[in-house]
Structure formats: C-alpha cells, structure tokens
C-alpha cells in the first residue's frame, strides 16, 4: 500500500509537470492584486488555448469530441500539477466539466460540432442555468417557462447562482415546458445564447462581500428547437447527468482555506483561556486534533477514491462525506480560532492581521459552503438514501401536476 503513482501515471505526471514548468512560469506566484474581470477573462482564454494546443483539455473526453480519450487519473494528475501554479482555469470548469458533456451527450451531431470545439479551445465560455429563487434544494421545482412557437421556444423566468454568467457566451438552461404534469416530468433543457435579446445578467453580492454568482433574467428569449438537449419533458434526466459530472468532481477543502496547521500556528502565538501558551492547553489541543481528523480524513478519503480510479474501479460511497465535513469543519475551526485571537480576530481592513483575515474569510465563506452545491441537510439525505438505502422523505407533490401542487 502506498501513495505512489503507477509507472504510467508517473510518466504522465512528469510530462505534464515539465510542460507546466515551461508554459505556466508566469503563474508561479499569485498575482499581487487580484485580476480585474477583463484581464481574468483574457488570461483565461489565452491559457485555455495553450492547454488545448498541448492536449491538456478534455483529457477524459472521447477523441471524437476533441478530447484525449484518457482515464480519470490522467485528468486528476494534470489538475494536481496545474494546481501548483496560479493559472486562471476556473472560467471553464463549469462549461467543460458539466455543460459541454451534456451538450455532446444529449445534443444532435450538428449541435455538438458547432459548440464543442469552440468551447474546448476556450473561444466560447459556458454557464449552467439551473437554480431559481424558489428552487434551490428542490431543483425540480423550477418555474422558468419555455413555450413552443413554431420551431422556436420562448423562455421567460429567472435563474440564480449562475457562475460567470456575465462572461459566458452560452448556457444550458432547464425550463418548465409542461406545468400540467408532475414536477419532474414537465422539464426540458435548452442551449441558450447569453447574448440574445431578453437575457439580463445581474451580479449577486454574497454575505462574505464577494460577487461570484449572478442572477439571470429571461424575458421572451427565443431559442431554436434544434438547441433542445434531450426530448421535450425529459429535462430532469438530462439535468441529472449534468449534476452527476458535478458530483464526480471530488470536493475537498477549498484550496487556500485555513486548516489545522493554521490553528496550530495561531495557538503557538497566543495565550490560552486558562493561561499559558494556547498550544499547551487541553481544550486547544483537542480542537487541533479534531481539525486534523476532519481535514486530513477528507484528504485521505479522496486518496481512497483516487486509488479506486487508479485501479480502474468506481470510487466507493465514502467520498460523499467530503463537502459536509469540510464546510462544517471550516466554520467550527475558524470560529474557535477567532475566539482564541481575542479582539484582533474581530478587526478587519487595514487594521486587521492578514493571517486572521484568512480565518475571517473562512468563517464567512464556510456559511456559504455549507449551502452551495447541496446543503448539509440535503447531503445527509443523499448519504442516508443513496448510500445506506433509507427511504426518501415523503413528497406530497411528487405525483401531483406542478400547477396543482402547493
């Protein structure tokens, strides 16, 4: 048992690492001030084109769609190596990770030919338009309507929590095309042109101060029937395949989020509530141990999953615990650490300590992470139902026509 690459994996890693050393040198250090949106998009496009040329995009996709036809381990290895740099690759993660696989799985050959190559090379950016204000955890409860008009559909409604909507050229959108049938059955998925008339994008400011998401309003937006993904009324199943791609993206601790090491470092520098260095106090040590167990436990759990992939097997259900542990651990650890730091842990801005600012960011961000991509409650339901086989909650609306349910 070891944490080593297989010879093939090691070879791929060495190649990728060498290429990155040569080509990502300018991203070795984080930018001193964050890039503005324009520069971010420009750099993202340039970086994506470079990766495409070198064969580091669509690593697991079929060659027919411009992919490399390699296994998930190669994709993960490239990702690990790239993450040693600060290259701008986030702009494409949803488009290439979720949207385009849906497009080439459920779209016609013509549609795939039109959209996949340009997405892969990075010329066109994609976003995913699923959630709505009244349909968060209950995604199938969406209300955005699409009404057929000849060989076109007319879309009206509002989407929310859309990443990079303002920078996107196209999106995949779930709509309700038949409100007279039960809610899972009346949905249809389309490709929508984000520059089309009637599409309006507004940023959402988060509690933490950032604006990583958007609201998108559709007013009489017209989409050709050729841009439908899957059958009319089959949108729920199409959306599930999209989301399956999301779930496969193993979600560990956000890259720069403080972990148990941060708490240890802080505890070496401050006094304990009981007096003496905090690092020597029993309660602080117990908390460090718990943070290690959660942080490192998730890392090791991910290695279990990677080992399965490396062996050509499907990862076990254990990786489903990742986000629910990570988000709550971040919140608990940050709260405890800020407590330890006294008044300084509360001061922000120019007067604040940069290390403590990371913990403050983590405390604010964790509140969002506990919700985004499935709340703690939904994730526990999923573990209980899909892993342990417990029955689902009662759903009084399940078989009722959508427009007759509460």
């Amino acid at each position: 048992m070891d944490f080593n690459d297989t010879p093939q994996e090691a070879e791929y890693r060495a190649k990728a690492r060498a290429w990155l050393e040569d080509n990502a040198a300018e991203y070795r250090e984080p930018p001193e001030t964050a890039w503005k949106l324009d520069e971010f998009i420009q750099r993202s496009k340039a970086w994506q084109a470079k990766k495409f040329a070198a064969g580091y995009t669509g690593i697991t996709w079929p060659k027919a769609f411009g992919g490399q036809g390699l296994g998930p381990m190669q994709s993960i290895i490239y990702g690990q190596e790239e993450s040693r740099f600060h290259a701008p690759s986030g702009l494409y993660s949803i488009g290439l990770g979720m949207c385009i696989p849906t497009v080439f799985t459920h779209g016609s050959a013509e549609i795939a030919e039109r959209y996949v190559p340009k997405a892969l090379v990075g010329d066109e950016v994609w976003c995913q338009l699923f959630s709505e204000p009244s349909a968060g955890s209950d995604l199938a409860g969406i209300r955005t309507r699409a009404v057929q008009d000849g060989d076109e559909w007319v879309i009206d409604g509002q989407k929310v929590w859309t990443s990079f909507a303002h920078a996107s050229d196209y999106g995949i959108v779930v709509t309700r095309t038949d409100p007279s049938v039960p809610k899972h059955k009346g949905l249809t998925m389309f490709i929508v042109d984000m520059k089309a008339p009637g599409v309006e994008v507004r940023g959402i400011k988060q509690m933490s101060g950032g604006s990583d998401f958007n609201e998108v309003f559709f007013t009489g937006v017209r989409v050709k029937d050729t841009h439908r993904l899957g059958d009319v009324g089959n949108g729920w199943k199409v959306a599930l395949t999209t989301l399956m791609h999301e779930r496969l993206a193993v979600g560990g601790k956000p890259r720069h989020a403080p972990g148990y090491e941060t708490l240890m470092k802080l505890a070496r520098g401050v006094e304990a509530p009981v007096g003496g260095p905090a690092i020597e106090a029993g309660d602080v040590r117990q908390r460090i141990a718990q943070s290690y167990i959660n942080d490192q436990g998730i890392k090791l759990t991910q290695m279990r999953a990677l080992s399965a992939l490396s062996r050509g097997q499907m990862p076990g259900p254990e990786q489903s615990i990742s986000k629910v542990v990570v988000a709550k651990t971040m919140q608990e650890m940050a709260s405890f650490a800020l407590d330890l730091a006294g008044g300084d842990g509360f001061v922000t801005g120019a007067d604040g300590d940069p290390e403590l600012a990371k913990l403050q960011g983590s405390y604010l961000g964790a509140a969002g992470l506990r919700i985004a991509g499935g709340t703690d409650e939904i994730l526990r339901n999923i573990i209980a139902e899909r892993v342990l086989g417990l029955p689902g909650d009662l759903r009084p609306d399940k078989d009722k026509p959508f427009n007759a349910a509460a």
Binding site: G136, V160, P273, L338, G345, F346, V347, A367, N381
Partner: protein
C-alpha cells in the same frame, strides 16, 4: 419563589421592544452599514434619552430613576433583538462601572449627563494583542494613561471611556474624557455597529474610586451582555422560524422537515438555558449574592453558545438566499462575532466559571 423580572422591569422591556420595532431592526441596520452613515442613530438616541432609559439605572440623587440591573438587562435584550444602532448597551455597561466603583464626586460629575443622554460613555478594556480581559498592558503614571484600546464598541461618537489599565493588583478602571484622547474608527466584521481605537499617550485620566472593581464590573457586564446576546439570538431564531413556516421545498414548508425543526428546537433550548443563567446573574446583582461570579460566567458562556449556534444555523436554514448580501441573516452572523469580541470569548469565561465553582467548593469545605 420569585425568580423572574419585576413587573416594572418587564414593562420597560415591552416599551423598549415596541419603540425598537418601530425605529430599529434590520432595515435601519442596513442603512447604518452604508459607508458614510453616521456612527449611530442620533434621533433614536434622543428618543431613548427622552424616555428615561439612559437614566433608568442612574441613582435618583444624580438625576436618574434609581432602577435596578433588571431594567438594564431588559433594555439590553431589546436593543440586541433590534440590532439598535445606538450606544445604549455600552452606556449601560459604563454606568454599571461608575455605579459600583465611582466616587461620589465622579458620580455627581458624570451621571447627570448619562441620565439625560448628553454624555455617551463606553467601556474600553480590549487591547490589540490581548486575548482576555486579564491581559491589560495599558499603563498608568500619575493621573495619565498610556496604551492602545481596540476594538472598542461604540467608541466613535462617545464622550467618555471607562478604561482598564494595569494596576498593582490586576487591572483597574479609569475615566478618560475622550476630548483628551485620539479616537479613530476601526473596521470590524460587524458592519453595523461602529468600533474604534483609543490611543492613550500620557492622556489625562482619573481612577475610579474602587480599584478592585474591575472584576466585579466584568461580572455585571457579562450579565448585561448576556441579555444583549439573548435578544439577538432570539430575533435570529424568530426570523428563521418564520422563514421555515413559509419557504416551500419538495412540496411542503421546510419547517415540516425534522432536519429544520430540530435545529429550531435546539436554538430554543440553547437560548432558554442562557436565559436561566442570565436571570440568575440579575438576581445575584440585585441581592449582592455570592453566586454572582459563577452566574455571570455561566450566562456569558451559555449566551455566546446560543448566539453563535443560532446565527450560524440562521444562515444555513435560509439556504442560498441566506448567504446573500441582501439577506438579513448576515447581521446576526456578524453580530455574533461582535458580541464575542465585546467581552472575551467563551473559553476564558468557562475557565472563570470553573474557578468560581472551585472557590465555592473550597469555601464550603
């Protein structure tokens, strides 16, 4: 058995809730969050002074109403629930210090202004680099102080500070006229309540009459702040319960799911435990009871636990919308950090509680 607030105190609490329901709450808090907004709501402050709330705890001899700590706690709870943008709780805490440790002359000098609202007084114990109220580096030399105090709640806009400085037998309390000192705003996680840094450089100051009063003041401050935290936590719980009654997911209101309703029940449980200890604290202040130290520490710990749990799960149970800037959830989430910073975190108070229990055991042995 008479373990409850007096009818008078309850009536004052009801009056405060009513006024704050009209004049405070999350909408004014959001206005206060805007940059360039005034430090506090001067109109509301005038109304408060007019209603005699700042005078409530001031002795009648000095222009006040001579009421008990029960009234201060009722006001603190109402202010906490409404996130009221006024320096009321800070002034109540400073009042308590003057009351237990001020000389007759000091009381005569400052209480009339506090009573009529013209003098805003705040306590200032926190220092950069200090993690508990036990660590005070500010030094006294003659009748001057030198040191730095931050973050100090409600400092911008205040006129007087009750400052902790290192003394031969631990920290002691001094009065500083803020006209004589440098006050600068300090940004904090709480975007509604203003905080400041007080820089003392041989700044004129006068010691309170009883230099040992710092510890007794901490106890009383813990009880009053426990009520502020209970008020804030209860308001967050109420908002969450209301949301859970109306928000629908999977064909039913989310309040029907045990995942949601059990968390709401836990909020209630934690808040009621905090209420029990806080009430014990008020009773001990009222009777100069020997159990004040332990009651105050327990009230502090239990109220912070209730507030942080409630604030965190308030965001959580609101789902995505709860994490937006537009949602009111952030006020509670951020205020939980403010109230923690306002008088040291739970760990120090839990240790203080056990020390009090040990002392009592030794005394009983």
């Amino acid at each position: 058995m008479n373990f409850d607030f007096s009818d008078d105190a309850k009536a004052l609490g009801e009056q405060a809730k009513k006024l704050f329901a009209d004049k405070a709450g999350t909408a004014p808090a959001r206005k206060a969050m805007a940059s360039g907004a005034p430090d506090f709501d001067a109109g509301l402050w005038a109304e408060i002074a007019n209603l005699g709330w700042t005078a409530a705890r001031v002795p009648e001899a000095h222009g006040g109403l001579g009421m008990s700590a029960e009234e201060s706690c009722q006001l603190a709870e109402a202010a906490g629930a409404a996130l009221a943008v006024v320096p009321l709780v800070s002034t109540l805490l400073a009042t308590e210090a003057l009351l237990i440790a001020g000389t007759e002359a000091q009381q005569a000098k400052y209480f009339p202004g506090i009573a009529d609202g013209s003098l805003i007084a705040v306590p200032a114990w926190n220092e950069p680099g200090a993690v508990t109220p036990a660590t005070v580096a500010t030094t006294a030399s003659g009748h001057t102080l030198t040191g730095s105090k931050a973050p100090v709640p409600d400092l911008p806009g205040a006129h007087l500070a009750i400052v902790a400085a290192a003394g031969p037998d631990g920290p002691s309390l001094w009065i500083v006229d803020l006209n004589d000192a440098l006050v600068e705003p300090v940004e904090t996680l709480d975007l509604v309540r203003r905080h400041g840094r007080l820089t003392l450089a041989n700044t004129p100051a006068e010691p309170l009459g009883d230099p040992a009063a710092y510890q007794a003041w901490l106890d009383r401050a813990a009880v009053i702040l426990a009520y502020e935290a209970i008020g804030t936590a209860s308001a967050a719980m109420d908002m969450t319960v209301e949301y859970a009654k109306t928000r629908i997911a999977f064909g039913q209101t989310i309040g029907r799911y045990q995942g949601v309703k059990h968390k709401c029940a836990d909020m209630f449980i934690k808040i009621e435990l905090a209420r029990a200890h806080a009430l014990h604290g008020v009773a001990m202040i009222g009777s100069d009871g020997a159990e004040l130290r332990q009651a105050a520490a327990a009230a502090r710990v239990a109220s912070l636990d209730a507030l942080s749990f409630t604030a965190e799960e308030t965001v959580q149970l609101h789902g995505g919308i709860g994490f937006t800037w537009e949602s009111d959830c952030q006020f509670y989430y951020r205020r939980a950090r403010a109230l923690t910073a306002s008088l040291a975190a739970r760990g120090w108070w839990a240790d203080r509680l056990v020390r009090a229990l040990e002392l009592r055991n030794r005394a009983a042995a």
